[in-house]
Symmetry: C2
Subunit: 229 residues, 2 copies
DNA sequence: ACTAAGCGAGAGCACTGCTCTCGTTGTTGC
DNA sequence: GCAACAACGAGAGCAGTGCTCTCGCTTAGT
């Protein structure tokens, strides 16, 4: 007697296979995933897919969740691999990890950070995994502050901004000064823009040496934050 | 005798009406524009649209071109309205103009800066209008440098980065130091990320005071660039 | 052993982009 | 002024989509 029945195991395997096939289609055909094509790939008829996913959007949601997790893993692993006190090294490692993952999985990145699908509303399950990359980035600042290797800039924030950031800090980074959080978020925002520009084809051929450009751009944000060289 | 024949005039009006109807649909139904729905709105049958646009993608391209122009106009007008020597004021005015336009035309913004449609390749006509916002931003730096109100940072760029930026500067901003161009592009990248995050629903309810947050974030990039307060 | 649930196939609905044909209507050359 | 021609709108049709419903078959639980 197996705790998960045979049927349940087969079902789990089917779900995985469907997701795998869907991911394959996503990579080749782009964002507009065809449920029927996925079904064809598995030698099934389209209606059979509905035994496993109530709708196409639910399939997409499953893929999005997995993609968030994959990106989160990549980013956190890169952060953990770098020497803990080398703040700038960690910043670059995390940035590069995010970019590398995006370049390796462009369609999934577009799913996460591209224009939202009209009818589609991301469920709450996505909130936490979506926070992992920015939390990892700002975590570097938190560590630097604790080590004394990083000082909080003493710029004065407008009160509403300070209050909003204080709320975020309270729930995610207790004790982190709002001014530092603000700069960290600026860095995360620029990182996202940098990757999106490169991936979505703006910038085009204007910058042949993309790797070096990317590192320099993220380095500029490290400067803004005050990460020691 | 009218230089443009009646037929030609009617045709031009029809094209405009189709684009207007399409824009209306874009605003309500989101990115997946239905040619048939547009045709229905005009009391036509879908095949009649093909007399004016060879395909749905060509209709989208026309909308994209107009959107780029609208955004470019908004941005350049904002820049021209601010006092020429008030570099920081211009920076904020341009940033806000871009954001305001995006918030007022979210679907069109998504068309321009969202994930690219799989089969769709942006024609070369879009390159120039697409450059207008970043060119406007960096133009502020160019003016500041000419006025002596802004100094080029003397950070040393890796040679490949310097070379790539030098090429861009040569064609768009002759004489602009590469280091300044790099920081300007960082600002543009962050601005795009900022608007996209807000528009595409990340950040969600985390930041209630969006206007103030936006201004502060763009102000941080102005700091990085060195725009005088 | 019997019942109930899970499953895959198939038909069908409403929708999509796009093509082709067929009359009609406006434009232009003679 | 009229004939030839091009532009036009309607309609039918094709291949594709997401999704629903029904029908048998297989497996699981009692």
């Amino acid at each position: 007697m197996s705790a998960p029945s045979i049927r349940a195991r087969v079902r789990a395997e089917m779900i995985d296979e469907i997701k795998a096939a869907a991911r394959r289609h996503l990579a080749t055909d782009g964002a507009n995933l065809s449920l029927r094509a996925v079904a064809r790939d598995m030698g099934m008829v389209s209606s059979a897919i509905y035994r496993y996913f109530p709708s196409r959007d639910d399939l997409l949601t499953a893929l999005i969740l997995e993609a968030y997790d994959a990106l989160g893993d990549a980013v956190e692993t890169a952060d953990a691999t770098a020497a803990r006190h080398d703040l700038r090294g960690r910043w670059h490692a995390v940035s590069r990890a995010a970019r590398d993952w995006a370049l390796a999985h462009p369609a999934e990145y577009a799913l996460l950070y591209g224009s939202p699908v009209p009818g589609y509303a991301a469920p709450d399950d996505t909130i936490l995994p979506a926070q992992r990359p920015p939390v990892t980035l700002v975590g570097i600042l938190r560590d630097g502050l604790a080590d004394g290797r990083l000082a909080a800039p003493d710029d004065e924030l407008p009160e509403p901004v300070r209050a909003d950031l204080a709320e975020i800090a309270a729930s995610l980074f207790p004790g982190l000064p709002e001014s530092l959080l603000a700069r960290g978020m600026a860095g995360w925002t620029q990182l996202f823009g940098l990757i999106s520009f490169e991936l979505f084809g703006r910038v085009a051929g204007a910058i042949p040496h993309r790797d070096a450009y990317f590192d320099h751009q993220t380095g500029l944000m490290a400067d803004l934050i005050g990460l020691p060289r």
